[in-house]
Amino acid sequence: MRLLEYQAKQLFSEYGIKIPKGITSKNIEQGRKDAKELGFPFVIKAQVPVGGRGKVGAIQKCNNADEFELKYPQILEMTVKGEKVRAILLEKMAEYKKELYLSLFLNRGKRCYTIIASAEGGVEIESVKNQVIREAGLGDVEKSVAEEVAKAIGLKDNTVNEFVDLVQRLSKLIVEKEAELAEINPVAILNDGSILALDGKIITDDNAGFRHRELAKFQERSELEEKAEKSGFTLVELDGNIAVVGNGAGLVMSTLDMLSDNGGKPACFLDVGGGATTESVYEALTLVSKMNKVKGILVNLYGGIVKTTTVASAFIKAYDDKLIDLPVFARLMGAESDKAKEMLKNTKTKLFDSVEAAINAAVIGVRK
């Protein structure tokens, strides 16, 4: 789960990492109260689970009540890289002399946590040349390691100690919460040498969720995503008009790629899991029926199907129940496909022998 900035900062605060004073709201009525409590000026920050907010105006300075009435609703209504704004953080500005970058992440290849730090903060880390990368084992980061990193990015005097303290607190957080990534960008160094986390990003291991009930309150899922999870599916909502359904993450990704290569626009990635049954296919169609903009459904199932006829009956049931009226372009790999084709002859579901053929038909079909 990717935490929103204000949620990450809440965890920072629990671990003694200093953050600017701020209040989060989800509507302007609450926002006005927050503004009064905080006092002008402050920054209005859109809470979305993606980066690049600054560039699109989703973070703006606010000097007075007039600006507030104009900017708050405008930012709340924004969509950043396809993500709707979930909440608004009003935050006091800090005067600082320098910005740094710091992150700790689970290095998959090395199987340990790794620190990335840079004397250049506030920009995307991929674009920064002077990165200091240091492997840090599986437990809490040792003081000597954090000190090395501090010196490598050119810190001096009491800022070294402040930075070491920050790294150690962040490492405690990532270990205890079983996070994959904890990033502070930028870390601000104030005029007195003390340190403040101006932004925050944390990604936790969803699979360890059963050990971290305290994180459940941060879960921000759409209604559809929640429904999908209950069925044991994975759903990623996308911008296009062809819903992509399949069994197995790799297979669905592959289908998405081929669809895009052929000029199709996927409306979602829906993985119904390794096995595919009549029930799971029906359940998937139920989810797709609730999505807007969908003009056609592309289905790619391989393995786990006992008989294609059982899947065919799921489509028929979905039409009979008036669940969907959409055309389905399906490739089902399994026994009795001729019989399944016969069953679906007079429906809006067409079966194809290859996924390529199904994709071509889908791309043409939704243009009609």
């Binding site: 980066g51 998959r108 291991d205 996308l238 669905v252 990704m253 290569d261 393995g303 390529e356």
Partner: protein
């Protein structure tokens, strides 16, 4: 490290050649019982099952034990496959390694990364191989199947298929089989961020097999296993044909695409990064699964010259 082919089929002349004993942990569960039957049907020699609370009973004639140490003591098996819910996975896996298991196939999805890392430390100490978690399993077609893959996709042959994804392993192997390329081993490393056997480990396990004629790598976005493998191939001067396929080119960044490990941060884990490293290693990358056998055939043409 133990030789994977020897672990899976033994040596010619041994009494259990091509009949290696396998224990199923979680044999009475819905998934475990279904796949036990399918594995037995394929010819895998399942000698015991473990389900706490059901020791002394039988499943399809296979004796069930309370613990792995009892099961191993009774059968002498060195291989085990686990089908338990993710929450109980670490306990079951530790039980297996402590009982002397040398090859552990970890099917469960949703195992916390920390549990996997804890297990891998123990596996290193015990000189055991872990395949997975979140793997479809491992098989030598027409000899042994330890996993959940549909048998019909595979034929015996001389190509190794190493895959992050389960269904894509079936799909690509099916395409290979149709084109006349059988497989000498197919191994799913699993879709998690941390894998007991990495792509490099898997490559090293198969590369010196004298029967091997070529390798197909099925990767997907996330992590840098493909990039490090490509570098490893360059460094090791491996000359037999290798072809790759990478899924996830069209996936948005910072979204987990079904597999816990399938997520791109910035350029880290992106398909472009993987494809460009494979190109550097002279490994062609297919645009779609059906293209894999064509690229492989092309590689063989060149290899002959």
């Amino acid at each position: 490290m133990n030789d994977i082919f020897e672990l899976l089929q033994g040596k010619q002349g041994e009494p259990d050649y091509k009949k290696k004993s396998v224990i199923v942990q979680g044999i009475t569960g819905k998934f475990g019982s279904l796949h036990t039957k399918l594995m037995v049907g394929y010819g895998t020699n399942i000698v015991a099952g473990v389900t706490p609370g059901k020791g002394g009973q039988k499943f399809e004639g296979i004796p069930i034990y309370e613990t792995m140490s009892e099961a191993v003591q009774a059968t002498g098996a060195k291989i085990s496959i686990i089908f338990v819910p993710a929450k109980f996975f670490l306990g079951a896996a530790v039980d297996a390694l402590e009982a002397g298991i040398k090859l552990l196939v970890a099917i469960p999805e949703h195992v916390p990364v920390r549990d996997t890392m804890t297990l891998l430390e123990l596996a290193k100490k015990n000189d055991a191989i872990i395949i997975g978690p979140n793997t479809p399993g491992i098989m030598i077609p027409e000899v042994i199947k330890i996993g959940i893959m549909p048998a019909s996709s595979f034929r015996a042959g001389d190509i190794a298929v190493l895959s992050k994804s389960g269904t894509l392993m079936y799909e690509v192997s099916h395409n290979l089989t149709e084109a006349g390329f059988g497989q000498c081993i197919t191994l799913g490393i699993g879709g998690d961020p941390i894998n007991g056997t990495t792509l490099i480990d898997a490559f090293d396990m198969v590369k010196d097999n004298p029967e091997l004629k070529g390798i197909v790598v099925v990767g997907e976005i996330g992590g840098d296993a493909e990039e490090t493998l490509a570098q490893h191939v360059i460094d090791s001067n491996f000359e037999k044909p290798i072809v790759a396929y990478i899924a996830g080119r069209a996936a948005p960044k910072e979204k987990r695409m079904g597999h816990a490990g399938a997520i791109v941060y910035g350029n880290y884990g992106s398909a472009e990064s993987k494809v460009s490293m494979f190109n550097k290693a002279n490994i062609p990358v297919a645009k779609r699964p059906a293209e894999v056998p064509m690229l492989l055939a092309g590689k063989f043409e060149k290899y002959k010259d």
